[in-house]
């Protein structure tokens, strides 16, 4: 049996590098070891856990619908059922970083294709990913690079590439933006039939030599006949880029940082951690796996339990994975997608290119009520497979005193760590029912019901809002 500390650490890893794991999976992973699990997350096998043919057999609307909810639902299905947790988590990371929204793109299938690209390329290296991003049709439309012409540049993509996607403000000049934009002229969209009235067609990237500015450019102190890929090559070699990406990774995987606009004036919470990630970036030529390996195996990561407010997608997906009632095709998946939106994270529709604000800014009154009600409803339903497993896990521990009962519930649903005040309240509540026994059928029924209520209360705590 793994130690409590090993389990807690593995649960932490799986919450951050994935969308949580059941107790059975945690124990199995503990048996293999922490570093081996990190390697497996970084290099998963061929089987994603999703049979693509089965997916479209049972959800033909995923291939056909033009509506945002179908695209969102397909992604939620993948997040819930993936056996590539880190790949899928990285798709979410890149989506939050390279925020592209349907409010302008108005093409959900194309946005989902962008997410697919993040899934495929998200663990390769940063220059490759940026080139793929620059050629991604949804991004081209979102940041107007289809309007960026030879002799008449549109700076939108060039600016955000530098400001929001790689280097961060203050590390380049306005002239650099113009020169970068020139280099991306002619990177545009091919024509396609309109989606109505026979259904969807996909955009394609098209390079138009006649619309490309082949002239000499000066960019960040380099001079040459650069095209977009050359610009990206220069960008990714900058330490500012390493630092910017490191801070994003830290904020997403380790602990909540201040919001991006404050970065130029507020130092990181843990400058040494950022330095470690910057070094991993520079040493590996921006190899994303190498950076993540350094991050996930670091002490600063291991010591950051519950220092990250779950995003709505994290909360929704990890809760249904825990409840275990969405692990195959069924109705109801669209509601999970809507729920993310109602809690403040409408997937593939961030408020702007500056993305969602994270950390405590996920939470307002309405969002908190939704989070609490959503998780409490699922985890209190003892008919669901994952909750049944928790009840079974309690049963094998035999008769439990009220304090043992609370501790065991916190353990099996996480482990979730709560402060003394919260524990005291849960304990006081448990005390009213006395010891938890499974000896008779009646006692077991009552104990099962009490477990459901206790799990609802845990889901309602402040601590449950953190990963």
């Amino acid at each position: 049996m793994p130690s409590q500390e090993d389990i807690a650490l593995m649960a932490h890893l799986m919450r951050r590098a994935g969308f949580g794991a059941s107790r059975a999976e945690l124990e199995e992973r503990c048996a293999r070891g922490y570093e081996a699990t990190v390697e497996e997350l970084l290099n998963p096998g061929d089987d994603s856990g999703i049979d693509e043919d089965e997916l479209y057999r049972y959800f033909p609307q995923f291939e056909s619908s033009l509506a945002p909810v179908a695209a969102q639902t397909e992604w939620v299905y993948r997040m819930v059922n993936t056996t590539w947790p880190l790949k899928e988590k990285m798709a979410l990371f890149w989506h939050q970083l390279f925020a592209t929204g349907n409010s302008k793109v108005d093409n959900p299938p194309e946005l989902l294709a962008q997410i697919g690209m993040f899934r495929e390329e998200g663990l390769t290296n940063f220059p490759n990913l940026l080139v793929k991003l620059a050629q991604n049709p949804a991004m081209i439309y979102w940041l107007d690079n289809n309007g960026n012409h030879y002799g008449s540049i549109n700076e939108n993509w060039g600016r955000e590439l530098l400001e929001l996607f790689s280097m961060g403000v203050d590390h380049y000049s306005e002239e650099d933006i113009k020169e970068a934009s020139r280099a991306f002229t002619g990177w545009t969209l091919g024509t396609k039939p309109p989606r109505q009235p026979v259904g969807r067609f996909y955009w394609s990237f098209e390079f138009k030599p006649e619309d490309h500015d082949y002239g000499e450019k000066e960019f960040l102190g380099h001079t040459g006949n650069f095209d977009g890929a050359d610009i990206i090559d220069i960008i990714v070699k900058q330490e500012d880029t390493a630092r910017f990406l490191a801070r994003h990774l830290y904020n997403f995987f380790v602990a909540d940082e201040p919001q991006v606009p404050a970065w130029s004036i507020t130092p990181p919470n843990d400058p040494e951690a950022i330095d470690t990630l910057v070094k991993a970036y520079m040493d590996s030529d921006a190899d994303i796996k190498s950076i993540l390996r350094a991050l996930l195996n670091s002490d600063f990561f291991k010591n950051a339990r519950f220092q990250h407010v779950k995003s709505p997608a994290e909360l929704v997906v990890s809760t249904v994975r825990m409840a275990g009632n969405y692990n195959q095709p069924r109705t109801g998946f669209p509601l999970l997608a809507f729920e993310c939106g109602w809690q403040g994270q409408e997937l593939m529709n961030p408020p702007s290119v500056e993305s969602w604000h994270t950390g405590s800014e996920w939470i307002d009154g309405g969002a908190l009520v939704r989070r609490v009600n959503f998780a409490a409803k699922l985890l209190s339903d003892t008919s669901l497979p994952g909750v049944k497993a928790i009840v079974a896990g309690l049963k094998v521990r035999g008769t439990l005193s009220p304090a043992e009962f609370v501790r065991a519930c916190l353990d099996l649903v996480g482990p979730v760590e709560v402060d003394d005040g919260t524990f005291q309240e849960l304990f006081t509540h448990a005390q009213e029912g006395g010891d938890v026994s499974w000896d008779t059928e009646d006692a077991a029924t009552e104990s099962e019901k009490r477990t459901g209520v206790m799990l609802a209360l845990i889901a309602a705590t402040r601590e449950f809002q953190f990963a």
């Binding site: 109505q196 109602w342 409803k377 209520v453 705590t461």
Partner: protein, 378 residues
Amino acid sequence: MASTRKDPVLVVLQLSGANDYLNTVVPFTNPLYWENRPNLGLPENQLIKFTDDLAFHPTMGPVKDLWDQGQMAIIHGIGYENSSRSHFRSMDIWHTCEPDKVGTEGWLGRVIRDLDPTGENVLKGVNFGQGLPRAMALRGVPVTSVSDLASYGVLTDIPAIGGGDEREQMLELFSRVYSPAIGTGMTMDYLGQTGRDALKGADIIKAAPEQYSSTIEYADNPIAKSLKSVAQVHLANLGTQVFYTQYGSFDTHFNQLPAHAKLWTDVSGAVNDFFADLREHDASDNVVMLVFTEFGRRVHDNGTGCDHGRGGVAFALGDAVNPGMYGEYPSLKAEDLFEGDMVPSYDFRGFYSTFAERWLGLDAKPIVGGEYEQMDFL
């Protein structure tokens, strides 16, 4: 902030999906209407004529009553330059007043901030619907979003937790685990405050239906339910000055005749019942309603429906409204159309400004992002 029932109140009704202007306010004497609507032309003998050449959709009788009572202004040809034919983009533009870039702040968020700068009353702005419309989104401005007034609150609709005492006990426990604890950090404190506020807000707003009684029987459809909820909260005098709700989908590409008729039956009935309800409680004089849609639809029909266009119609309703027609019905002449669409002549930001300035008494410029022509319907 002290509020009285006589503070001005704005109710926004969004017709989602792009309402068809031509079949809502029908220019029935214009031969071009009939030419362009071979399949969607409404039967002339059923139209509800309200001027010599304009008529409401046959299902809009209850709206016509408001017109007859002098409580309705019709704003013709509303929209914005270079109108987007994307629902999502166009709705975003209407919500943020940012036609040239993707905006994050909602215009009503700014309205609510200016009405209640300290954010004291979390019920200053209330949305009825799932999630928050971007129009009301503004960082630091608390807004309440209620999907269902009857089941609104913490730990509701959870079978494992019984009703009555059991739930009360749970809520007390919730309140205690969200109380301030020393040394747990800013985020925990913030969560604690938010949790307790949410509990308080839910308590207050849930009392509204309990105090309410009315002889008006609203129909059984979502917009009637939403507007009834608006009436209940308004009558409970909780200081709410901005209400938001929406109905749809008006995206009638196909099968428009029955679909559009059903939509306007629901909306007309609900709006009329809403004002009747307020009047019954002597609470209508400080309420105006703004009705809008993201764009109008294509002039020529496509067989059984019509497609995305530009230039729409908006309404202002209520006792305080100066009744009549404002703006101009856009020309339907082929040479005046843009890719088959009517061209709007009145910027919606002027429409919004009229409400912000003349009704709510606010400086409209920062709210809509500039100075736009206001109209005299208020």
